[in-house]
C-alpha cells in the first residue's frame, strides 16, 4: 500500500528513535533505532511482548515519557520534529492532531468530573469553542462511539459506566478534535473478549469513516489480524520485521514472528503441543550488539550472536541474517 502513495510525505515518520531510561541500576535501553512511517489513513500495528518497548514508542511520540526517560532520533509529524518542538507547540499538536487511547480506561478519566466536562474541556481549551458548541460536539462524538442514550449520559460520572463503555468514552475523548492520528496503546487488553470485539469494530468503523491513521499497539496477534494493514514486530526494543499484515501471517520472515504465531493456541485446530519459544525475554542493560532474539532463536548461527542485522527488504522488511528459506 506504500507504493500507491509514494508521492505524498508520510503523516508520521519515526527515524532512528531510541529511548533510554536512567534507573538505580544503570541505563535501560528500551527502544533501539526504530524507524517507521505511517501514511494518512493507514492502520499500523506495533506488536511485541512486554519489555519490547512498544508502549515507550507511543509515549515518546506523545512526549509523555517518564521523567527518567530520554528519547533520541527524529519523530516527524506533518513535517515537524516532535522531539525538538517547544512545549507549547507540542501541546497544540498532541491535543488537536494526535489522539491517544490507553489500556486502562479508568485511569484516563477523571473520576470527579462528568463525562460532558471531560469531553467539552478538550475543545474549549484547544479550539476556544463556546460551552454550547463544546456540548454539541461532545454529543456528536458520543454518538460516533455508539454510546446508547448519549444525551442522558453526558452528565454521568465515569464510575457509572461499564469497562467497555468507559473505553468508548476514552475513544470519544481522543476523537474530540478530529485527530489525524490515533495512538491506541493496548486498547482492549483490560476488557473481556466480547467487549474487545466490539471496541475493535468501533475503532475500525471510525477509522474508515474519518480517515484517521491508527497505530495499534498490542501483544495480541489475533487482534492485529482482523484490523491492521501493516504490522511491525518488535522484540527487545528492536524491529524484527515489518510487512503487510497478510504476509506477516502467510509468510512470516523472521524466526521470532514465526515463533509467536506458533505459540498462539488456535481454537479451531488444537495441536498436541504448543510450540513455545524457549528462554526468557532479553535484558536491556546494554544496547544490543547482536540480534536480541538470537539467544532464544532455534535458527541462530554463530554470526547471529555477534552482529546486529539491519532491517531491509522492500515491502516486507526483516532484520535477520538467515535467509527465509532456511528458517524452520
Amino acid at each position: 500500500m506504500r507504493d500507491t502513495q509514494t508521492n505524498t510525505a508520510p503523516l508520521l515518520s519515526v527515524r532512528d528513535l531510541s529511548v533510554r531510561f536512567r534507573t538505580g541500576d544503570g541505563l535501560v535501553h528500551a527502544v533501539n533505532n526504530v524507524s517507521f512511517d505511517i501514511d494518512v489513513g493507514e492502520k499500523l500495528a506495533v506488536v511485541g511482548e512486554s519489555g519490547s518497548g512498544k508502549s515507550q514508542i507511543a509515549l515518546a511520540i506523545m512526549g509523555l515519557l517518564a521523567k527518567n526517560g530520554e528519547a533520541s532520533g527524529k519523530i516527524m509529524f506533518d513535517g515537524r520534529d516532535l522531539l525538538h518542538l517547544p512545549l507549547g507547540e507540542l501541546n497544540k499538536i498532541r491535543a488537536r492532531q494526535i489522539g491517544i487511547i490507553f489500556q486502562d480506561p479508568m485511569s484516563s478519566l477523571n473520576p470527579y468530573m462528568t463525562i460532558e466536562r471531560q469531553l467539552a474541556e478538550i475543545v474549549e481549551l484547544h479550539e476556544g469553542a463556546s460551552r454550547r458548541d463544546a456540548r454539541k460536539r461532545a454529543l456528536e462524538v458520543m454518538d460516533a462511539v455508539q454510546i446508547p442514550d448519549a444525551r442522558a449520559r453526558l452528565d454521568a460520572y465515569p464510575h457509572e459506566f461499564s469497562g467497555g463503555m468507559r473505553q468508548r468514552i476514552v475513544i470519544a475523548m481522543a476523537l474530540m478534535c478530529n485527530p489525524r492520528l490515533i495512538l491506541a496503546d493496548e486498547p482492549t487488553t483490560a476488557l473481556d473478549v466480547t467487549v474487545q470485539a466490539q471496541i475493535m469494530k468501533l475503532l475500525g468503523d471510525i477509522q474508515r469513516d474519518m480517515g484517521t491513521a491508527v497505530v495499534l499497539i498490542t501483544h495480541d496477534l489475533g487482534v492485529v489480524a482482523g484490523f491492521c494493514d501493516e504490522t511491525l514486530v518488535l522484540y527487545g526494543g528492536c524491529i524484527m520485521e515489518q510487512a503487510p499484515t497478510l504476509s506477516i501471517f502467510d509468510a512470516p520472515g523472521h524466526p521470532y514472528t514465526r515463533g509467536l504465531l506458533r505459540a498462539v493456541p488456535n481454537i479451531e485446530d488444537p495441536a498436541a503441543s504448543l510450540a513455545a519459544i524457549p528462554g526468557s525475554p532479553p535484558s536491556q542493560r546494554k544496547p544490543p550488539a547482536a540480534c536480541p532474539f538470537a539467544p532464544r532463536c532455534v535458527d541462530a548461527v554463530d554470526a547471529c550472536h555477534l552482529t546486529l542485522p539491519d532491517l531491509d527488504g522492500d515491502g516486507s522488511k526483516r532484520a535477520c541474517l538467515r535467509p527465509v528459506e532456511v528458517l524452520t
Partner: protein
C-alpha cells in the same frame, strides 16, 4: 463417581458487602459470587473453567481450595466429603490439592530464595523428610521445571514472569498432590512464554497423573489444555461439555456469543462478533429467571421468571430453556 478425584456439588459462594450497610448494626448485603456449581473431575483429566471477569470462576476454585469460605454445597475428594471446618480434613485437602496463581511474581515471597520457596511445602506435607532431603527434593523439582543449579540461590525478583510461574508450579507439585488448581496461570504472561508454561503443565500432568482445574478467560488456551470445559456467567454454570464438542457446536447463547468474539490470528477470517446488549445483573440481587437473560439475544418469556435447570444430555449439559426444547 468412584473414579472421580474431585466432585463438587451445588457449590455456592457468597461475600458480605459491608458498604451497603445503612447503619453499623444493619445486616450486610450478600454478593452471590458462585451459584450452584456442580462438576466431577477424574484423575489425570483437565476441566477448564471459562468466563468473563466477575463471573465467579476464581471465587469457585478459591472456595474449593479453602481460601474463601463455602456458603453451601459439597466438595468430595477421593470419594470422601470435605468438611472445611475440620483440621484433619483440611490437611488431607491441602496434601492432595495445590494451587498456582495469576500473578507469578506476587505469588512468591520476595525475601526467600527459590530453593527455600520450593522446599517449604515439604515441611508441612512430608514430615518424614529432614532438611537435607527437602533441599535435594526441591532442587530436583527446580531442575525438572528447567532451572540450573546456579539459579537455586536466587531471589524471585531476578526472574522473569514465566520463570516465576515455573517456580510456582514447582512449589505446587513438589509434595505430589493429585489435583492442581490453576487460577489464570498464564494470563499475566506473554504469548511466547504462555506456551512454555502450558506445555510444562501438560508434561507434568502426564508424568504425575495430575488432575487440573484450569481457570482462564482465554478460550483458545482453555480449549488447548482441557478435556472438558465449563462456561460460567454471573457465578452460574451456563454450559458444560467436552472441549471439542463445545467449540464445534456451542449450545448456550452465551457460549455462542463468547466464541464468536474470540479473535482469530488469520487476517483472511473476518470474525463477526455477536454484540451482547443490556447490562449485567447485580450480583447482590440476582434475577429470578436465567442469569443471562438480561443480555441474551434469544431470550423468550420464560427466561425472565423461571431459572432454567442444568440439564445433562449424554456427555454435555446446558442451562437454557431453548436448549431443553431442542434436545428434547
Amino acid at each position: 463417581m468412584t473414579d472421580n478425584v474431585l466432585s463438587v456439588r451445588d457449590l455456592d459462594v457468597t461475600f458480605r458487602a459491608n458498604q451497603t450497610k445503612k447503619w453499623p448494626w444493619s445486616a450486610p448485603g450478600k454478593v452471590h459470587a458462585v451459584n450452584g456449581v456442580t462438576f466431577d473431575l477424574a484423575a489425570g483429566h483437565t476441566i477448564g473453567i471459562v468466563g468473563e471477569s466477575g463471573c465467579g470462576k476464581s471465587s469457585l476454585i478459591r472456595a474449593i481450595a479453602g481460601l474463601t469460605p463455602v456458603a453451601s454445597g459439597e466438595v468430595w475428594l477421593d470419594g470422601a466429603q470435605i468438611d472445611y471446618a475440620n483440621r484433619a480434613d483440611m490437611h488431607r485437602l491441602r496434601q492432595s490439592m495445590q494451587m498456582i496463581f495469576q500473578d507469578p511474581i506476587a505469588s512468591l515471597n520476595p525475601r526467600m530464595t527459590i530453593r527455600e520457596i520450593v522446599a517449604e511445602p515439604l515441611i508441612y506435607f512430608r514430615p518424614d523428610m529432614d532438611a537435607a532431603a527437602r533441599r535435594s527434593a526441591a532442587e530436583q523439582m527446580l531442575d525438572r521445571v528447567g532451572f540450573t543449579s546456579s539459579q537455586f540461590n536466587r531471589f524471585p525478583h531476578e526472574f522473569s514472569g514465566g520463570q516465576c510461574q515455573r517456580i510456582g508450579i514447582a512449589r505446587a507439585i513438589v509434595a505430589e498432590p493429585k489435583i492442581l488448581l490453576c487460577d489464570e496461570p498464564v494470563s499475566a504472561l506473554d504469548v511466547s512464554i504462555q506456551a512454555q508454561v502450558i506445555n510444562l503443565l501438560k508434561d507434568i500432568q502426564a508424568e504425575m497423573g495430575l488432575a487440573l482445574v484450569f481457570v482462564a478467560h482465554d478460550l483458545g488456551i482453555v480449549r488447548h489444555i482441557s478435556d472438558e470445559i465449563l462456561v460460567m456467567y454471573m457465578g452460574g454454570m451456563m454450559e458444560q461439555a467436552p472441549a471439542g464438542a463445545l467449540i464445534a457446536k456451542p449450545l448456550h447463547p452465551y457460549t455462542q456469543a463468547l466464541l464468536s468474539a474470540v479473535p482469530i490470528p488469520d487476517p483472511r477470517i473476518q470474525i463477526t462478533p455477536q454484540v451482547l446488549e443490556g447490562d449485567l445483573p447485580s450480583p447482590m440481587a440476582l434475577p429470578p429467571g436465567c442469569l443471562f437473560q438480561s443480555r441474551c439475544p434469544k431470550r423468550i418469556e420464560r427466561c425472565a421468571n423461571v431459572r432454567p435447570a442444568h440439564l445433562t444430555t449424554g456427555n454435555r449439559a446446558v442451562t437454557c430453556h431453548l436448549a431443553e426444547r431442542v434436545e428434547v
